[in-house]
């Protein structure tokens, strides 16, 4: 990491006047965390600003266009692709002071929130009023709606309820050239003109900053149950889930963990009472008390027929949370296999999951690297962690080659190189595997329309 002094005194004075007091930061010691995220990529920001209003942001963007200085929007930096790392410098715009839930309307079934609202906080507030905002990325307790919308976050419940873009009804934002933009609104249907809000969701801060987001809400299901089923091997768990699909039940979530994942969770002490299992499925069903009783009996029977050796049930919200915590622990538990990892989140058509897992196992064997696989079985979204040691040049090369091979195989299986993490910096070298030159050039033209001087989060996404 190199030291830079890109901002001159006049520029700093401008920022201090627009963002007085502790709304702006210039010292490297305080600013450096704003240059990193959970990808562990990092670079030093030249300044950090913490606006409290959309007007401040508009003025910042107009000034940054004139000065040709990059602005990198950021919430809590929990993404794993380097999507908010200020590569090459720039001003980091932290939205954490804009964290109000501005409206929850039970007649319109909508909530209007600022980008810094923590997703789980919104869900908790809604739950007490029997309302539901389903998207639940693994980082749900620590990530924000702004970050979730910018990356079009998915989550465990996507199989039944869809992902973030299915719940964004409207966005009030500021484009890269400093214009206020209102797209969509509080209606659950809207087909007037091009769907700009759909374009903004998942654009990783490259087109506009979102100052207010209108979200669609659902009635909270009356009840839910989470089942953990343990198997002797991965093949059994795959066979079991096929039976569940064929039974006509659509679970709210279906997660799987392969043998290596179960091993590392055991090593971390997360699976203390499940010493005898080698592969795990976690299944959530929700609905009315009556429908759940019926579906639960049916699923339990199917799992036992398919050789489940352990079945744990989480009925209370605390017990359900304990079971989900197992799933959320994987990303960090994987580090028992090595100090560094490349995390990719490929998605293949549902019917291609087994073929994809087998290909990954072959690639793991070929390169002699530990590659673990887990994730959202229901929508074919597999998290693949390639574990290596970056201080061993041969392993770095092997990990890069393995990443390349896996992503090539995914495209060959008519899949996508990212289901929910996004591109950021980490996947940028690979997007041409999936996207044509023409598609990429169209995206870059669209970027120019929203942000003619390329000041918003440059060098990311496409």
């Amino acid at each position: 990491m190199k030291s830079r002094q890109q901002l001159n005194t006049k520029q700093k004075d401008f920022l201090r006047s627009l963002f007085p007091g502790d709304q702006s930061i210039f010292s490297s010691e305080e600013a450096c965390v704003y240059g990193a995220d959970a990808s562990r990529y990092n670079d030093f920001p030249d300044a950090v600003v913490r606006p409290q209003s959309a007007d401040q942001i508009r003025e910042l963007f107009i000034w940054a266009n004139a000065e040709m200085i990059p602005v990198i929007p950021r919430a809590r930096g929990t993404n794993v692709t380097g999507a908010c790392v200020p590569k090459g410098g720039g001003i980091v715009l932290s939205c954490l002071k804009m964290n109000a839930i501005k409206e929850v309307n039970f007649d319109d079934f909508i909530a209007i929130v600022e980008p810094g609202v923590v997703t789980a906080d919104l869900q908790k507030k809604l739950q007490s009023n029997h309302m539901y905002y389903p998207p639940d990325p693994a980082s749900v307790k620590i990530s924000t709606i702004g970050g979730n919308v910018a990356t079009n976050a998915g989550g465990m419940s996507a199989v039944k309820y869809g992902v973030t873009h299915d719940y964004v009804l409207g966005i009030e934002g500021i484009t890269g050239e400093g214009e206020f933009l209102i797209t969509g609104g509080r209606c659950h249907k809207d087909v007037v003109g091009l769907d700009l809000k759909r374009l903004l969701v998942g654009s990783e801060g490259t087109l506009a900053f979102f100052s207010n987001i209108t979200l669609k809400l659902l009635p909270l299901p009356e009840s839910s149950v989470v089942l953990l089923a343990g198997f002797d091997n991965l093949d059994q768990s795959m066979s079991a889930i096929q039976s569940v699909y064929k039974s006509g039940i659509l679970p709210a979530a279906i997660e799987f963990m392969d043998e290596d994942v179960v091993y590392c969770l055991k090593k971390k002490g997360v699976l203390q009472d499940l010493h005898d299992v080698s592969s795990i499925l976690i299944i959530k069903i929700d609905g009315t008390e009556y429908s759940i009783r019926h579906e639960l009996d049916k699923i339990e029977l199917l799992l036992k027929e398919k050789s489940a050796i352990r079945i744990e049930k989480g009925v209370s919200s605390e017990d359900q949370e304990d079971l989900w915590e197992i799933r959320r622990s994987i990303q960090s538990a994987a580090f028992i296999f090595g100090p560094d990892k490349i995390a990719v989140d490929i998605t293949v058509p549902r019917g291609g999951v087994s073929a994809c897992i087998n290909k990954i196992k072959s690639i793991s064997n070929y390169y002699g690297l530990k590659i673990i696989t887990f994730g959202h079985l229901g929508d074919g979204n597999l998290h693949v962690n390639i574990v290596y040691n970056k201080n061993e040049p041969s392993q770095v090369q092997a990990a890069d080659n393995a990443t390349h091979d896996i992503l090539q195989e995914v495209v060959h299986l008519r899949g996508t190189i990212s289901g929910e993490h996004g591109i950021g910096l980490a996947k940028l070298p690979y997007i041409h595997y999936q996207l044509s030159d023409y598609a990429i050039s169209l995206m870059r033209k669209m970027k120019k329309v929203f942000d003619p001087n390329n000041i918003l989060n440059p060098g990311k996404c496409f």
Partner: protein, 386 residues
């Protein structure tokens, strides 16, 4: 290249951000630079050659921490950030650490005098200094009475020493008296209260590791000299610090660390495993709130919940009181949002009762009580008739 204990302790941080959910400072400010992740990242950067960062500025940020340990509990990589920061501070001596040491060391002598003088001095005291002194005065409550009739404990006839903690020892004699009576009632053979040193927690977190080690050596030596009896505490932080001694280099004998850990018993956990006859009388309508201190075990209130009449409602507050660490010296104004965050969880009551099981929390909660809440250590409310 700097290679230090503190950087080694933080090298495993994967920047996942799970600590953001629990850090009282981050939660109350939304300023990422004060988060545990930010500090761990800073220490990682310092461990590689980096001319952009000033050690002095990093030390200042390292001091802005409550040492509550909540990040350690949430960390999937088991990183003990408060200990890493203490080690970093220990390698960056400054006058503030020295001052902190002096304050802690001189406090036992001055506390009782100051607390008795507080009413007379109050017109001359500014801001929360007056409240801090008043918080050290003995309390008499009429709002709640916990009357113990009998205690049948599995510790009967076991030998025990009382470890009351500094605040109790020098300012809260009533807690000690009540604690003794509970121990006698439980059938313990109480050997007394020797001249313990401070548990050392605050000193250690300020980065004064050698001073803290001296205190720990004295406490270990006392325990050995009494034949390794049980050590009974009623302060969550003292218990945490005493248990943490097994991580210090104290010339432990073979298997002695296990013996030490098994000997430390909080009086509330003794009550958990005892048969208690208890009456609870309260003269207020609102719920009683039980404070889960950062260093308390999850079952700290089990004895009370189990034995209280079903007609009594208990609420819980699982928020940091803001007393710990060196924040109060480094950035005292930042206490305000932390304290406000705690009290915001009971904002709709305003005239309730808040019980704690930590001496320091009692001191802090009483000092920064914004409304008409009664606050106190649970020992404040105990009545025992012989």
């Amino acid at each position: 290249m700097i290679s230090s204990d503190y950087s080694r302790l933080c090298n495993d941080c994967i920047l996942c951000g799970r600590c953001l959910e629990v850090c009282p400072l981050f939660q109350s400010t939304n300023d990422e630079e004060y988060s545990p992740r930010a500090k761990a990242f800073l220490l990682q950067l310092l461990s590689i050659s980096n001319e952009t960062l000033s050690n002095g500025h990093v030390r200042k940020l390292a001091g802005i921490c409550l040492s509550c340990g909540r990040c350690t509990q949430a960390c999937p990589q088991n990183i003990d950030l408060p200990t890493a920061l203490a080690k970093f501070k220990s390698e960056s001596p400054s006058w503030k650490s020295w001052l902190w040491s002096c304050l802690i060391r001189s406090m036992p002598k001055t506390l009782p005098i100051l607390s008795h003088s507080a009413p007379a001095l109050s017109p001359f005291l500014m801001g929360d200094t007056k409240n801090r002194l008043l918080a050290l005065k003995e309390k008499s409550h009429h709002i709640l009475t916990l009357r113990f009739h009998s205690i049948r404990s599995s510790y009967k006839n076991e030998q025990a020493l009382l470890f009351p903690g500094c605040i109790a020892r020098y300012a809260k004699k009533k807690w000690i008296k009540t604690a003794y009576r509970i121990l006698y009632m439980s059938g313990l053979n109480v050997l007394g209260m020797p001249d313990w040193s401070c548990c050392g927690y605050s000193i250690q977190q300020a980065g004064l590791l050698e001073t803290s080690l001296t205190m720990q050596e004295n406490n270990l030596s006392i325990w050995r000299s009494y034949g390794k009896p049980y050590i009974m505490t009623f302060c969550a932080t003292c218990r945490h610090a005493l248990e943490g001694m097994v991580n210090a280099d104290l010339n432990w004998h073979d298997n002695e660390k296990d013996e030490w850990l098994q000997s430390i018993v909080t009086i509330s956990s003794l009550l958990n495993t005892s048969e208690i006859s208890l009456s609870l009388y309260k003269s207020l309508r609102s719920a009683i709130f039980l404070h889960h201190s950062c260093h308390a075990r999850s079952d700290v209130w089990q004895w009370l919940m189990k034995n209280a009449p079903v007609t009594v409602d208990f609420g819980t507050i699982d928020k940091c009181c803001g007393l710990g660490g060196s924040l109060i010296l480094e950035r005292p104004e930042m206490l305000q949002p932390v304290v406000a965050d705690l009290w915001s969880s009971v904002h709709s009551y305003r005239d309730g009762l808040l019980l704690t099981a930590c001496n320091g929390c009692d001191y802090q909660l009483t000092t920064f009580n914004p409304w008409n809440f009664e606050t106190g250590h649970w020992l404040d409310f105990v009545e025992i008739h012989d």
